[in-house]
């Protein structure tokens, strides 16, 4: 396309050529007089202008689409590169970790039990990080199950699990589910993954709230969308930190002292997006945070 653009000067060149030829007397110029009524002229002029505009429009649309395609290709490449990076990192971490675990069973019973215990704890931490990295890498590629999932059961179960965590009884944990006029509709997806997402949000809320704080889990349906919210009266986050919480390995200023892989929330986002949903966050410093996941509902009662 680029190589042919000088052709647009061709009609002008031919015209100028004729005029020069006439001026030099190489060409027997004659006068052509046209008579037309104004309405016909107006019609022809209108049609020509419309045609020119239409051509321009098509050209711009086409260019826009090319641009979009290029962006999409670029995005796909980047996603593929990122996935490869995650897989390689996962792989490179696994062998040393296997060696450390194998070495640790050989030193048990030695004298420095505290030292060994701390190595063991740290190895477990790396192990969790590696496991989360793998989940993240796999989530983007592996097919997910599409079965009707009863979110109510998932929420009740997740709350029950979190309640067994140490110290959780010192925070008040509420679960509120709609009953009237109808219960929460089901969503289509993978129950295990949805449970993992809810668990990560809850685990997060418990970890980042002080003792005595309130954590609320609620779910509701609106316009064929089921929203699950996990709200806490914790320390909240500054506005400039909020967009980063979904990034891999991001640790907010308040999170450095709290154990975690830094991959919990990115996993939530990956799971929700694989289910065709969206995640959201609202937060205020010193007041608390609300995390939400919005998922397309099925079998909503007809109006």
């Amino acid at each position: 396309m680029k190589r042919y653009w000088p052709l647009i000067f061709l009609p002008a060149l031919i015209g100028v050529g004729f005029r020069i030829a006439a001026a030099l007397g190489w060409y027997d110029d004659y006068i052509l007089s046209i008579r037309a009524d104004t309405s016909t002229l107006a019609m022809l002029g209108g049609i020509i202008i419309t045609a020119v505009l239409a051509v321009l429009l098509v050209v711009f649309k086409w260019r826009d689409k090319q641009h979009q395609d290029q962006l999409a290709r670029h995005e796909t490449n980047r996603a593929a590169e990122r996935r490869q990076f995650l897989q390689r990192l996962d792989h490179e971490l696994k062998n040393p970790l296997t060696a450390i675990q194998a070495a640790l069973v050989n030193v048990s019973g030695a004298e420095n039990t505290d030292t060994i215990e701390s190595i063991r704890t740290q190895a477990k931490r790396i192990g969790r990080l590696v496991a989360d990295l793998r989940k993240l890498a796999e989530l983007e590629t592996r097919p997910i199950e599409r079965a009707p999932v009863d979110l109510e059961g998932v929420l009740r179960e997740s709350v029950a699990i979190v309640q067994k965590m140490p110290d959780s009884e010192r925070r008040s944990l509420h679960l509120s589910l709609p009953q009237a006029p109808w219960p929460l509709p089901r969503v289509l997806g993978d129950e295990d993954l949805l449970m993992l997402a809810v668990h990560n949000l809850l685990d997060n809320a418990i970890k980042f709230t002080p003792l005595g704080a309130t954590v609320e889990v609620r779910a509701f349906e609106d316009n064929d969308i089921v929203t699950v919210e996990v709200a806490d009266t914790g320390s909240g986050m500054a506005v400039d930190e909020i967009p980063h919480v979904w990034q891999e390995l991001y640790r907010g200023s308040g999170a450095r002292a709290v154990p975690g892989s830094g991959l919990g929330l990115p996993l939530v986002r990956a799971i929700v997006e694989r289910h065709g949903g969206q995640v959201g966050i609202r937060s205020r410093v010193d007041q608390g945070t609300v995390f939400s996941m919005r998922l397309p509902a099925i079998d909503v009662p007809e109006l």
Partner: protein, 238 residues
């Protein structure tokens, strides 16, 4: 002490090899080591071990190729593959190529010992393991692993992919106590906060589809505070 089983441990990473070998020796095995695929094949000839623990990713001849060469020459020494990637298809491959079991890296060395013992107990000398067979039968139940289909008598039953994978693993490891963590690793390849639930729901699905009464099971038995066990007698189908 000559009745100690001979284990051949193959891994290209020296620290893994040395540490695992001394742990296995203390756990009641006699362990030989090889650092790569060629070494593994040489050792196989020299010492004919009772079981091979084989790393998949190695330079030159990788673990898969070693396994293929062994099976092609009709050598059915039990093999436990140490796999690297947790992806479902990779796990299926480990079984399809005639490995008796597999373990995802990184793993708890105790788990490796448990796997080795279970495989040795089940192994029938010089014959292919159940996991190398495309068709499995047990009473009314039959499984076509290639087509991923399950039949009760003549009628095909519909299972979710995860339930199928779980049943496949249970049937290829019959009479073996499998704890929920192990089964979770089989179905998902990762640990999971509510692991017991994820496994229990799939087991419930299997029991419903197979009409297996948990109180009086024909196929899957619940072992209190232990896990599950496939109790039926599994045969390979032709």
């Amino acid at each position: 002490m000559t009745d100690k089983p001979n284990i051949l441990l193959v891994d290209d990473e020296q620290d893994i090899r040395d540490n695992l070998a001394s742990f296995l020796n203390r756990s009641g095995f006699r362990t030989s080591i090889a650092a790569d695929g060629e070494g593994a094949l040489r050792q196989m000839e020299a010492i004919s071990p009772d079981l091979v623990v084989l790393d998949v990713l190695m330079p030159r001849i990788d673990g898969r190729e070693v396994l293929r060469q062994l099976r092609r020459s009709d050598n059915w020494t039990p093999v436990i593959l140490l796999t690297q990637v947790g992806e479902a298809y990779e796990r299926a491959m480990a079984l399809e190529e005639g490995a008796d079991d597999y373990l995802n890296k990184p793993f708890d060395p105790q788990e490796l010992v448990a796997r080795i013992r279970a495989v040795l107990r089940r192994a029938r000398p010089d014959s292919p393991p159940l996991s190398a067979s495309w068709e499995l039968r047990c009473a009314d139940l039959s499984m076509d692993r290639r087509a991923r289909r399950v039949y009760l008598g003549e009628s095909e039953q519909s299972l979710t992919p995860k339930a199928f994978t779980l049943l496949e693993y249970l049937m290829t490891h019959p009479d073996e106590l499998l704890d929920r963590e192990r089964l979770l690793d089989v179905v998902w390849g990762w640990e999971y906060p509510a692991g017991t639930r994820a496994v229990d729901t799939r087991i419930a699905e299997l029991r419903r589809v197979l009409s297996d009464d948990p109180a009086n099971p024909v196929y899957i038995e619940t072992v209190p505070s232990g896990g599950y066990r496939f109790i039926g007698r599994v045969e390979t189908g032709k």
